[in-house]
Every structure is written in C-alpha cells, then in structure tokens.
Amino acid sequence: MAISPPTYVRAWDNPNDAGGAIRISWHLSADDSIIDGYEILRLAEGEKEYQPIGFIGKGRNCYTDDETKDGLRYQYRVSAVKDTIRSYSEPSNFAQSSAQWFNTDRINVLIFTAIFIFLILWFITQAKRGTRLFVRRIAGLAAVEEAVGRATEMGKPILYVPGLSTVDDVATIAGLNILGEVAKKTAQYDTKLIVPNRDPIVYTVAREVVKEAYTQVGRPDAFNPDSVYFVTDSQFAFAAAVDGIMTRENPATNFFMGYFWAESLIMAETGASTGAIQIAGTDAVMQLPFFITACDYTLIGEELYAASAYLSREPLLLGALKGQDFGKAIIIGVLLLTTLLALLLNLPVLNLF
C-alpha cells in the first residue's frame, strides 16, 4: 500500500527566542486520515544523511525543532508514517536559527508597563510638590486604634502575624508597614506585642521595624527583643504554634496582615474562640472568604496596600495610590471600549493583547 507524502515543506527561524529553534511547516498528506502521523527528518550542513528528530500526530502541519545550533544551515523533510510504511516529502529550503535581542511579542507589555510607571511616577511627583491627595476612609483601619486601646485596657497582649509569605511578596511589605504603625501604638500604650514569623528574612525585617517604631515614639527601652521571633517555615507547624499562642497568651487583639494559605481559618477561628478582636488583611483571594467570616474586620485585596499609605499618611505612598486608581480607570476604559468596538464594528480587538 502506498501513501502520499506531505508537500510544500518550509523551514524558518523560530521568532522571539533565545536561538536554537527552527519552525517547520508542511501541507498534509492526502492520506492524512489513515496514517499514524508525521516524522520530521533533518539534514545539518556538512552531514550526509537525514536524521529523524521528531514525530507528531496526524492532522498537524507544523513542528518546532528546538535542538539546532545557531548559524548552522539545516534542511528538513517530513514523512508520512503508517506502521512501517514511510512516504517522504521533498526537502525544504535551508534555514538557520538565531537568537533575538528583543521579544516583539511582548511589546504590548512594554507599552502597558510604561504607561503605568509613568502614571505612578507622575502622581508621586505631584505629591512631592505638595498637592494634597485625598484617600477615602477604609473601614477596617479605623478599628486598628480601637483594637490597640482595648488590649491596653484589658492588660492583654496583641498578636501580629505578618503573613506566611516571603519578604518580596507585596502583601508582606504592606503587612510590615502596618506592623510599624501598630508597634508605635503599642509602644505608646506599653502594650505587649507578639510577632511570630514563618520566614526568617521577614522575621529579621519585622524585628527591625518594631524596634524602629519603639525608638521613634521615644520608648526604645520598652522594646522586648523576644517579642518578635521565628517559629518554623513549615506551614502547619506554624499554624499549630500560633493556635497555641492564642489559647495560652490570650491576646485581646489578633492582626493577620500579609499573605496566607489554608492556615488562615485555622488561626482566625481559634482566635475567634478566644474572644479576641480580629483584624485581617490579605491579597490571597482564596483565603478572603475565611477571614471575612471569622474576623471582625477584613481588608480585602488592594485595601491592604492602601492601608499602609493611609496609616502612614506618607505623601509619596498616597501619590502612588492615586496612580493606581488611574490605572484602574484606564483598565475599565479599555475593557468597555474594546468590547464596544468588537461588538459593534467586529474589529479584531483581541490582537491588541
């Protein structure tokens, strides 16, 4: 039995890559429906024979050879395969692979990034010049002061968990900033503060943040170095330890500010059972439902980032917040505009992204 070969085999450098890859395409064999698939063969410059380099299922008409040497010329043939029968195409054109210095597929990312960077820098400069920037009230934040006050009245400690993630996580940064503000208040009221950590670097930074806060309000002597400590980097061992702290030390207020995983509710529900006031904030979307049900106040997603700007009243941070708001307005605008264009004029707007 004879099967007809694939035809019109072409080869060219794979675009936007680090080199080392050539793309090959062909027109399907007329017997595509009955064959096993296509075998791709390659002849490198200076070699005598075609070597099989890959195999792909029927109905497919392109393949990427990602084991080429840059600068070397290659020629390809494709054969239709059924059991032991092979039917070879004509050889392709010569092609060579090369590395690119810029990924043109990502030019849209570059443009979007440039716009947002510009926006944020613009508003930060505005803030530096002294333009007054408004930030609306965020519900959970008003409770921070009250919560610290309550702990002082009751003579009980405050527990602060700056999330379980690493220091390069934005939620952790926000959590540490808010920790600084909370620590200033505990320093003023002389309330005991407990900060257990799951990441060693976050622990180091948290310790400095708290120490600095105590110094800033003029109470460096009141800082207890043992109040900020590392527990373990194992998620559930950490949760077990925090549960233990909550039931034994009986804090009046628990803060959970940062990034959390499944342990969120293990800690928050234990905290609720001890009768503590609980304020949570996270951008971990999966955990927000649990914090919302088990805590008294929850900063949802971006509110956590806004909180550190809001509490510190630092103009530069407020400026960036305004820039973010503009970014959101642009996204809404783009969404609505492209949808309108697509529905009314049937323009291929998805190619923009």
Partner: protein
C-alpha cells in the same frame, strides 16, 4: 427567649462533636446514597463506553498516597467500567509514588472480575486485557513519546516483561490506538496531557481530579479540550453509580461510602446555619 438565645450560642464543642459523629458513623455503618451523575461525569462515562474494540483506555495514575481517599475510588471505577465492557486498558504513572497505588487498584479489580469468571474468555488476563506500563520520567518525554510508540517509552512493563511481546501491545502502538487518556490527578498533570499530548497528537483527555484542583480544570472542560471531569469524592461516587446501575457491576464503592459521610457533614453544616438564623430572626422580632 432563653431557647432562641441558646440557638444562637451553641457551644463550639457541641458543634465539633456532632460533626465528628456524623462523619465517623457512616464508616462504621455504611449506607448508600445514590447520586445522580452530572453532565461532566456522564460525558466521560459515555465517551469511554463508546471506545471501539481496537482502541484502549489509558489511565495515568498521577496522585500520591495523601490524596488516595479521594482519587483511588475513581481509578477503581474506571477499571471496572473498562473491564466490564472489555475495553483494553493501559496504566502508567507520571510520579513514582503512584506505582503502588496503581498496582493495588489493578490487582483488586482484576481479582473481582476473575472470581466471577468461569471461562478463560470471561477472565481478565494481564497482557491480553490490560497492561501496567509502570513509571518513566521526565513526564514531558513520556507524554510526547507515547504519541509515536508506546513500547519505546516503556520498553519493559512494571513486571519486567518486554512490552512489545505482550499480545495487547500488538494493536496498541501509539495515541492513534488510544480512545482516551484519563489523568487521575491531584496536580496539574491533566493539563500537561492537554498542552502537549493533545496539541501534538490530538489525543482525547479526561480529567479525574481532587475537588480543590477541579476549579482549575473547569475552563478546559468548557473549552472542550477535556472530555469529561470527575471532581472529588462526589465525582467518584457518581461514576461508581453509573458503573453499577448501567453495567450491573458490584463491588466496594469507597467514594459512595465516603459520600455518605460527606452528605451528612454537609447537612450538619447547613442545619447549623439554619439554626443560627432561626435564633437570629426570632430574637430580632422580639426586640422590635
């Protein structure tokens, strides 16, 4: 007044005790709840049911002992289905920890059928009706390589036989002879089969995943890239139900049994929510 206040403030320990009891008791005294199969489960069942005799069902056992309670019943139900309908089965694992689980499931289901069998024709015979290819790495090479020649990826099977010599493997050479690959998985492996196996070879992919993972799998179901989805205990129980009611295959139904615990736990939680709200509304009315 007192009564409704109590409804609103049930001690958490009573809640915990009741929840623990309703989960544990169904294991000691199993009772069956017959679930109705949802479309994604039924689609997978129907597709496997329609695999022609010259093609095989491939099951990829991609989970580890910690998700065994949720996923092993699915593997068993899939095997029962295939053996009952005389569909050839190839089993592999992408993770080395899946080997023991896969072997347990195969031995268990093959024994179930062979105890009932009276003739050699009726029996489920290794090499003729099913093959356990075992484990190979890296996963990508396995998924792509099976598109070309399965016996080249797994030159020997799990028991050390030369794969090419097994009778079933004479007909099952590559994805063209495979009806569907079902990846039973607690991770993203079904998506690897879709991104690599399906894109390169057009193989059909079925997904059997834990309830947590299922959320990530739904988009692939909606786009048609996945043929059917079993999600969590419930998905397993629904498949077991289909296998029993449509094929009359009986046997231990672990997902359905666990479903009894699941069901009673769900009802308990729902009941507590309702009780809390009754108390809440009753008190609010009084206050007005």
């Amino acid at each position: 007044m007192k009564f409704f206040e109590k409804l609103m403030k049930i001690d958490r320990r009573i809640i915990y005790l009741i929840l623990a009891l309703v989960v544990i008791v169904p294991f000691l005294r199993p009772f069956m709840i017959h679930p109705k199969a949802m479309p994604p489960v039924e689609n997978l069942y129907n597709y496997i049911d329609s695999i022609p005799p010259d093609k095989a069902l491939v099951i990829s056992v991609d989970y580890t002992p910690d998700t065994e309670p949720e996923l092993q019943p699915m593997t068993i139900a899939l095997l029962r289905h295939a053996f009952a309908r005389r569909i050839k089965v190839g089993v592999l694992t992408l993770g080395v920890l899946g080997l023991g689980l896969a072997e347990n499931a195969l031995t268990q289901v093959a024994n179930e059928f062979n105890q009932r069998a009276t003739t050699r024709e009726d029996s489920i015979i290794y090499g003729r009706d099913y093959v356990f290819w075992g484990w190979q790495t890296p996963a990508l090479t396995v998924i792509l390589g099976m598109g070309e020649r399965i016996s080249r990826v797994f030159s020997v099977d799990y028991y050390g036989n030369k794969t090419e010599t097994l009778p079933m493997m004479q007909k099952i050479k590559n994805y063209n002879n495979v009806g569907i690959v079902v990846s039973v998985s607690a991770s993203a492996t079904p998506l690897w089969y879709i991104t690599y196996g399906q894109t390169s070879f057009g193989i059909k992919v079925g997904i059997a995943s834990t309830a947590v993972q299922a959320a990530d799998m739904y988009p692939y179901l909606n786009s048609g890239q996945a043929t059917g989805l079993l999600s969590g205990m419930k998905g397993g129980a629904e498949y077991e139900e289909l296998v029993q009611t449509r094929l009359g295959i009986t046997g231990r139904r672990r997902a359905t049994e666990a479903m009894a615990a699941q069901t009673s736990a769900h009802f308990t939680i729902i009941a507590f929510i309702i009780i809390g709200n009754i108390g809440f509304f009753a008190l609010r009315r009084r206050k007005k």
